[in-house]
C-alpha cells in the first residue's frame, strides 16, 4: 500500500501541516514530516477536511442504470469529496429486503470509490402499508441503520409510530420524507405568489411542517430516533428547534439546493428546477441557513437525484422531480455558509461529515483528522471558482440546477482509507 | 401624358444644396391639386358616355380611393376642389394596402389604417386610386389586389402628386401632379397639412 505525505495542507482551515497517510490511517500530523519512500502530495494552500458523508443519495441501481449506477454515482461522490454515501431505497426493485441492500452494498464495494451504505425501505415496496423486514436488513452484510421510504412519506401515523419503535432494537433511525400526501396531490412547486402566477399546483409548506410536528411528537412519545430528510421551510426549522429544546431525539438535513435556490427558478418552467420538496422562498432559504448555522439542522444531505434526459426535457408537470448534488454540495455550502461567515471549516466538517456519520452510525467516517484515525479525508482549494458545466460531470445524468453558475471551491484530492480516489481533481478509477 | 413632364427647373435649389428649402411649396401643391381636379372632371366626363358637355355628367360614377397615409387626405382635397369647380360632390374612399404588401418580411409590420368604402361599394364605378408618390409601383399593385377583393370597378385609374420614376412593375399613372426625376439615393418626401402640419415636397440625399 502506497504511503502518502500530504505537504502543507491546512487541517480544518488551521495552520499548515504535513499529513502522513500510511496503511489506511493517518500516521502522523506535524511540521516538516519526513517519510522516505512516501509519495508526496503538494497541498500548500489547500484545506484538509474529513471525508464527507451523505445521508441522502439516489444511485438508481438497480432499475434505472440509464440515469446512474452505483459506480458512476460513487465517482461523482468521490469528486465531490465524499467518502461515504447512503444509497436511498427507491430503486427497482425497492431496497426492502436483505437481498437488495446486500446487492447495492456489494456493488459499492466493487466500485471502491466511496463506502456505499444502503438505506432500507421502511415499508414493503414503499407502499406505506406494512413494515419491510427491517431487522433482516439490519443484520445483513449491508448493516443497514437508516430506513426511509424517501420519495414517499410514511403518512400513516400508526405505521410511523411502529417503525420508530421497531428500529430501536438495532439502534436504527427512520429518515422521514415529510410530505402529507393529501395536501400535495398534483403538487408541482412551492405554493405561494409564484405558483399562483405560473398556474402550477402548489405544494404548501404546511404539508411538510404538519408531518414533522407529528413525527417529533411520536418520536418523543416512544423515545425513538427520528431523522428528517431535506427540510425546506422556515416553519420546519422552528418546529425542529422547539423539539430539540424539549430533548426529542430528532436530527435533520438540508439539501444544497434548498440553501441556494428559490421558487423564482420555476419561472423558466425548466424542469431542471423541479424537485421534491420544492424550492421555496427567500425567507425559507434564510431560515435554513440560520438553522444549519446554529445546529438546529444537523447535516447537509445532497438528495442527489439523477434523471435521464427524457425525464427532464419535457413539460414541467411531466418531468420527474430531483436534481444532481454530489459534485457541487461542498461548493454550495462554501458559497452560502462559509463565505458569508456563518460556518467555519470546522463547522463544515461537523455538518457534512461528523454529524451525518453519527446519524448513520458509521464507523470510520466523520472522525477527527488525528493520528490513528482512518485516512478518510479531502483536500480542497477554497480559492478556485468555476462555472458548472453539466457535460463535465461524472454523474451519468446532466440535471444540474447549477449549470452555468459560478461556484467557489474545488476538491483536489479525496482519500478513502488511505487510498486516493481523487487526485489533481481527477477520479482515480 | 396629360401632365407636366419636365424636371423641376423653377428656381428651386438643387437636391445637393446644403440648405435646401422645399422643392415644391404649399402654393405649388395647391396649384397641382387644382389642375388634377380639372383633369379628373374631364376624365370622368369622357369615361361616362363619350359626349362631354359641361363636364359633370360622369362625376357621379367617380370614386376617389386614397391610399393611406397621404393618399387619403389628397383624395379628400381633390374631391373638395372638384366640388368647388363643378358643384358635384364625388365619393371618397380609403383602402389600406398594408395587408396586401409583398415586402412585409423586409419592412416589418406596421399599424393598419382604416379601409372605408362608399355605401354602395365600388362595383361598376370609375375608381381613381390616389397616392402621394409613385416610385416602384408596388404600392399600386397592392392597391389593385385589394380592389379586386373589394369589388369589380368599371375601370381603375391612377392619380399621383409626384412621379419620381424607377418603376419596378409595368405600372403608369394616368394623372401626375409633377414628374420629379430623381436618383435612387434620394428621398422624396411629400408632406401635407393634414398629416404633417405643412404642405411641401422635398428631395434629400439619403446617407448610404
Amino acid at each position: 500500500m502506497t504511503t502518502y505525505l500530504i505537504k502543507g495542507a491546512r487541517p480544518l482551515g488551521g495552520d499548515p501541516a504535513d499529513i502522513l497517510v500510511k496503511d489506511g490511517r493517518i500516521a502522523a500530523i506535524g511540521d516538516s514530516l519526513d517519510a522516505t519512500g512516501a509519495e508526496v502530495v503538494e497541498a500548500a494552500g489547500l484545506i484538509a477536511l474529513p471525508g464527507l458523508v451523505d445521508l441522502h443519495t439516489h444511485l438508481r441501481e438497480p432499475g434505472r442504470e440509464d440515469a446512474e449506477t452505483v459506480e458512476t454515482g460513487s465517482r461523482a461522490a468521490a469528486l465531490g469529496g465524499f467518502t461515504a454515501v447512503h444509497a436511498m431505497a427507491n430503486t427497482d426493485p425497492v431496497a426492502d429486503t436483505a437481498g437488495v441492500v446486500e446487492q447495492v452494498w456489494r456493488l459499492g464495494q466493487e466500485a471502491g470509490l466511496v463506502d456505499v451504505v444502503p438505506v432500507g425501505a421502511v415499508t414493503v415496496g414503499l407502499k406505506g402499508e406494512r413494515l419491510a423486514e427491517l431487522g433482516a436488513m439490519a443484520d445483513s452484510a449491508a448493516r443497514v441503520r437508516v430506513f426511509s421510504d424517501d420519495g414517499h412519506c410514511v403518512a400513516d401515523p400508526a405505521l410511523m409510530r411502529r417503525a420508530l419503535e421497531y428500529v430501536k432494537a438495532f439502534d436504527g433511525v427512520v429518515a422521514q420524507h415529510a410530505e402529507e400526501p393529501r395536501l400535495t396531490v398534483g403538487a408541482q412547486m412551492h405554493e405561494g405568489d409564484r405558483s399562483a402566477k405560473l398556474g402550477l399546483t402548489g405544494w404548501p409548506a404546511a404539508a411538510e411542517e404538519a408531518i414533522i410536528a407529528r413525527d417529533v411528537l411520536l418520536a418523543e412519545h416512544v423515545g425513538a430516533r427520528l431523522h428528517v430528510c431535506h427540510v425546506s421551510t422556515a416553519g420546519s426549522v422552528d418546529i425542529l428547534r422547539w423539539a430539540k429544546s424539549r430533548g426529542v431525539q430528532v436530527t435533520a438535513e438540508v439539501t444544497p439546493h434548498h440553501l441556494l435556490l428559490t421558487d423564482a427558478c420555476a419561472e423558466s418552467y425548466d424542469p431542471v428546477f423541479k424537485v421534491n420538496p420544492p424550492l421555496r422562498t427567500d425567507a425559507d432559504v434564510e431560515a435554513l441557513r440560520a438553522g444549519l448555522a446554529d445546529g438546529t439542522i444537523d447535516a447537509v444531505g445532497t438528495d442527489h437525484a439523477p434523471h435521464a434526459v427524457e425525464d427532464k426535457e419535457s413539460e414541467w408537470a411531466q418531468a420527474r422531480p430531483g436534481m444532481l448534488g454530489l459534485e457541487q454540495a461542498l461548493s454550495v455550502v462554501i458559497e452560502t455558509m462559509v463565505e458569508p461567515g456563518r460556518l467555519d471549516w470546522a463547522g463544515v466538517a461537523d455538518r457534512m461529515s461528523v454529524r451525518p456519520a453519527a446519524i448513520g452510525r458509521l464507523d470510520g467516517h466523520g472522525r477527527p483528522l488525528a493520528p490513528g484515525e482512518p485516512a478518510n479525508l479531502l483536500l480542497l482549494d477554497p480559492t478556485a471558482r468555476a462555472a458548472v458545466d453539466p457535460a463535465a460531470l461524472a454523474s451519468r445524468s446532466r440535471n444540474s440546477p447549477y449549470a452555468g453558475r459560478e461556484l467557489p471551491g474545488r476538491v483536489v484530492a479525496t482519500f478513502l482509507r488511505g487510498v486516493p480516489t481523487v487526485l489533481d481533481g481527477k477520479a482515480q478509477k | 401624358m396629360a401632365s407636366s413632364t419636365q424636371p423641376a427647373r423653377n428656381g428651386a435649389p438643387s437636391s445637393g444644396d446644403p440648405s435646401p428649402g422645399p422643392l415644391l411649396s404649399a402654393a405649388d401643391v395647391a396649384r397641382m391639386v387644382d389642375r388634377m381636379a380639372h383633369q379628373l372632371i374631364e376624365r370622368a366626363a369622357a369615361a361616362d358616355t363619350g359626349t362631354p358637355d359641361d363636364g359633370t355628367a360622369g362625376l357621379s360614377g367617380l370614386v376617389l380611393v386614397g391610399i393611406p397615409t397621404r393618399g387619403a387626405p389628397l383624395a379628400r382635397r381633390l374631391a373638395a376642389r372638384i366640388e368647388a369647380f363643378s358643384g358635384v360632390a364625388v365619393d371618397v374612399a380609403t383602402v389600406d394596402i398594408t395587408l396586401y404588401r409583398d415586402d412585409l418580411r423586409r419592412r416589418g409590420v406596421r399599424a393598419l389604417e382604416p379601409t372605408v368604402l362608399p355605401d354602395g361599394g365600388i362595383d361598376d364605378r370609375l375608381v381613381v386610386l390616389v397616392d402621394d408618390v409613385l416610385y416602384s409601383g408596388r404600392s399600386v399593385r397592392a392597391a389593385l389586389d385589394a380592389l379586386r377583393d373589394l369589388g369589380r370597378p368599371r375601370s381603375v385609374q391612377l392619380a399621383v402628386l409626384v412621379d419620381r420614376g424607377h418603376r419596378e412593375l409595368p405600372i403608369r399613372a394616368d394623372l401626375v401632379g409633377k414628374n420629379l426625376p430623381t436618383s435612387r439615393s434620394q428621398k422624396v418626401s411629400v408632406r401635407l397639412e393634414e398629416t404633417d402640419g405643412v404642405d411641401e415636397v422635398t428631395v434629400t440625399e439619403v446617407d448610404q
Binding site: 402548489g202 | 412585409l104 409590420v109 379601409t115
Partner: protein
C-alpha cells in the same frame, strides 16, 4: 412586439393597444366583403399543435390563419406521434424541420409553450396552457369590452368563478391591468389561489356586493367535478352563491355587459336567460376571437420591424 405570445405580460400597453387597433382595422376592412381573405401571410406555415381538445379555439385560430392566406397544419395529440409517446421536444424539432413559421399550442401542462419557445425558431402563440394563461382569449375579451363600452381605461371588471384553475382569469387580470381596467376577482376562497394577493386585482367573496359597482361581469366556467375535491359543497350551493341569474343581472347598471369565454355550463355559473340577454357578449366574443387572432398572427409573422 416580442417574437412569442406566451402570456399577457409579453404585451406592454402599446403592444396590446396595437393588437386591438389592428383587429379593429381588420374587422373594418373585411366588413361586408364577399372575399374574406387577405394575401398577407401567403407562403407562411402556421401549425396548430393541440395537446388538449378544444375545437372552438382551434377553429378560431385556423380561420384566422386561413383568412390571412397562411398554410395551416392541424396537429392534434390524438392519433398522432404524440400519443405514441413522442416528447414535446421531439415534436418541436419535427415542426422546426418542416419550417413552421408559427406554432399555436394548446397544452394541458402549464408552461409547455415556454418550453416549446426554446426549441423552435418560429413564433409560439399560447392558445391556453394548463392553469396558466390564455392570452388571445384575454385580447379578444378586451377587444369586446372596448367595442361595447368604447374604452378600457377605468372600466371595472368582475371576474367570477374558478379563478384557481382558470387560465382565462390569469390572462385577463394581467392584460386588463396593463390596459388600465380595474379587476375584482369574485370566488369562494377555495377557488382563489394562495398568493392571489400579489395580483393586480381586488378580491371579494361576495358577488351581490360587487355587481352594482362593475361595468363588466366575466363569468368563468366551473366544473362540477370540483365539488368532489371539496372546493365547494354542491353545484346547487355554488350556483346560489356565485351563479349569475336574472335576479342578480338586475343589480347591474344599465350599460353593464356579461361575458363568458365558453363553453358555458348553463344553470351552473350562468342562467340561460342571462346568457341569451342583450347584455351578453358571448356570440361577439367568438367573432372577435377570429379578428383578434388575425391581428396577433399578422403582428408576429408579418416580419419584424427593422
Amino acid at each position: 412586439m416580442k417574437r412569442h405570445l406566451l402570456e399577457a405580460a409579453d404585451l406592454d400597453r402599446d403592444d396590446a393597444t396595437l393588437v386591438l387597433d389592428t383587429a379593429a382595422q381588420i374587422d373594418q376592412a373585411l366588413a361586408g366583403r364577399e372575399v374574406k381573405k387577405l394575401p398577407t401571410l401567403r407562403g407562411r406555415t402556421v401549425v396548430n399543435l393541440f395537446y388538449e381538445d378544444s375545437t372552438r379555439t382551434r377553429i378560431s385560430f385556423e380561420l384566422a390563419a386561413k383568412r390571412l392566406s397562411a398554410d395551416v397544419i392541424n396537429f392534434s395529440a390524438k392519433g398522432s406521434s404524440v400519443s405514441k409517446g413522442e416528447s414535446l421536444k421531439d415534436t418541436a424539432l419535427t415542426l422546426e424541420a418542416m419550417g413552421a413559421d408559427a406554432v399555436v399550442v394548446r397544452h394541458w401542462a402549464s408552461g409547455a409553450p415556454h418550453r416549446l419557445a426554446h426549441w423552435v425558431r418560429g413564433s409560439v402563440v399560447n392558445a391556453g396552457d394548463g392553469t396558466h394563461e390564455h392570452p388571445t382569449q384575454a385580447l379578444l375579451d378586451a377587444y369586446t369590452i372596448r367595442q361595447r363600452l368604447g374604452r378600457l381605461e377605468g372600466v371595472r371588471v368582475a371576474v367570477v368563478g374558478d379563478v384557481l384553475h382558470s387560465r382565462v382569469a390569469r390572462s385577463n387580470v394581467g392584460l386588463l391591468h396593463t390596459l388600465g381596467a380595474e379587476v375584482t376577482l369574485v370566488a369562494p376562497p377555495t377557488l382563489l389561489p394562495v398568493g392571489v394577493g400579489s395580483w393586480p386585482a381586488e378580491v371579494s367573496y361576495d358577488l351581490d356586493a360587487v355587481l352594482p359597482k362593475v361595468d363588466v361581469v366575466m363569468m368563468l366556467r366551473v366544473q362540477a367535478e370540483r365539488m368532489n375535491a371539496s372546493f365547494f359543497p354542491s353545484a346547487r350551493e355554488y350556483s346560489r352563491r356565485y351563479g349569475l341569474d336574472a335576479r342578480r343581472m338586475g343589480a347591474l347598471h344599465d350599460d353593464a355587459i356579461v361575458m363568458h369565454p365558453g363553453p358555458m355550463n348553463r344553470g351552473m355559473e350562468i342562467a340561460a336567460e342571462v346568457a341569451d340577454s342583450a347584455r351578453s357578449t358571448i356570440v361577439e366574443q367568438v367573432a372577435n376571437g377570429v379578428s383578434t387572432r388575425m391581428a396577433v398572427l399578422y403582428l408576429l409573422l408579418g416580419g419584424s420591424p427593422q
